[in-house]
């Protein structure tokens, strides 16, 4: 079986190597990937959207649909994990893992104190990454993952119940829904105000003192906040379900 697998993989690798002969040289500025649409993105992103970070401009404005469905994929993954693993009935598992409480309960005083001091700063930095994503590398996903990671840090250092007291199961699901709702809601708002779905120019009528170009920038900030909230909630949901086999009683 392993020899057969190795032969199949070697044959696929050989086919790929033969196909890679036609690829452009690495770092070529005139390669086909850099000549059709991306010069337009590079030269016109700041003029049309007032956002210097080209990657955020393309992600949230020119390709806003992709980002919306990606947030929907994250949301679906969180719901799938809940549906597969969650158990609320009391009962023994047929094949429970061996009880490792004696090697895991040794909670250090140093780590507890430092984590208690660090978690607010991690969350503040995560909110900064979300808000400053227009001018520096960052954006909605990175900030959302860092916010989720701060709660996971709390769950690892203290107890899973301590972290779940701060942000319980019902609130998590509500936050995930709220994040996706904000994203689609801004798109629908643009539709209601007269233009296409996710066309941010329609937001001039409700935002005070902006012109067409700055409305794009504000619309992008709104959807980045929605993405960050949804990603944070889903990361905490997946970790809480994986770390306790769905019972939410005793974590790692």
């Amino acid at each position: 079986m392993k020899v057969l697998g190795f032969l199949a993989v070697a044959f696929t690798g050989f086919l790929l190597v033969v196909a890679a002969e036609d690829f452009p040289a690495w770092g070529d500025a005139a390669s086909p990937a850099s000549t059709h649409l991306s010069p337009h993105f590079i030269t016109d992103a700041v003029e049309e959207t007032a956002v210097p970070n080209m990657v955020t401009a393309v992600l949230a404005d020119y390709r806003g649909f992709d980002t919306m469905f990606e947030t929907a994929v994250i949301f679906t993954a969180g719901m799938a994990v809940i549906l597969i693993l969650r158990r609320t009935r009391r009962g023994r598992d047929k094949h429970a893992p061996e009880d490792r409480t004696d090697e895991l309960v040794h909670k250090d005083l140093i780590t507890r104190t430092i984590v208690r001091l660090l978690v607010p700063f991690i969350q503040l930095f995560a909110i900064y990454v979300v808000m400053h994503g227009h001018h520096s590398p960052g954006g909605g996903f990175q900030g959302g993952v860092m916010l989720g990671a701060s709660f996971i840090l709390l769950a690892i250092t203290f107890d899973l119940r301590t972290a779940l007291k701060r942000i319980g199961e019902r609130k998590n699901i509500l936050l995930a829904n709220a994040g996706l709702f904000i994203y689609a809601g801004i798109g629908a708002l643009c539709l209601v105000l007269g233009l296409n779905f996710l066309d941010y120019s329609a937001l001039i009528s409700i935002l005070p003192a902006t012109d067409r170009i700055m409305a794009h920038s504000h619309g992008m900030l709104g959807i980045e906040i929605g993405v960050a909230i949804a990603v944070m909630a889903i990361m905490v949901i997946i970790f809480a379900n994986l770390a306790s086999r769905g019972r939410y009683d005793k974590g790692l």
């Binding site: 590398p137 990671a149 086999r245």
Partner: protein, 81 residues
């Protein structure tokens, strides 16, 4: 685009990938996967893809490693293969 740095980090990446699927302890494999993600993040920073590197550092080397470790702790740690 400095080719010497690229070659060194790429060879480290290949060594980490082969090690991650060869070790017999699943906890070791998860940690080596975390190292692999960190090396990928360095590679993308050197190519100029700073947003992708930021996302991989937060997601791959942070959250993905902790998912693997928490799943391994609920099941067996040794594997025969």
């Amino acid at each position: 685009m400095i080719w010497q740095l690229d070659l060194i980090i790429l060879s480290l990446v290949v060594i980490c990938a082969i090690a991650a699927i060869t070790v017999k302890d699943l906890l070791n494999a998860s940690i080596i996967l975390g190292v692999y993600s960190f090396m990928m993040c360095l590679l993308w920073t050197e190519m100029g893809a700073v947003d992708v590197a930021f996302t991989e550092a937060a997601v791959g080397a942070g959250v993905s490693t902790i998912f693997c470790i928490s799943a391994v702790f609920q099941t067996k740690r040794r594997t025969k293969d």
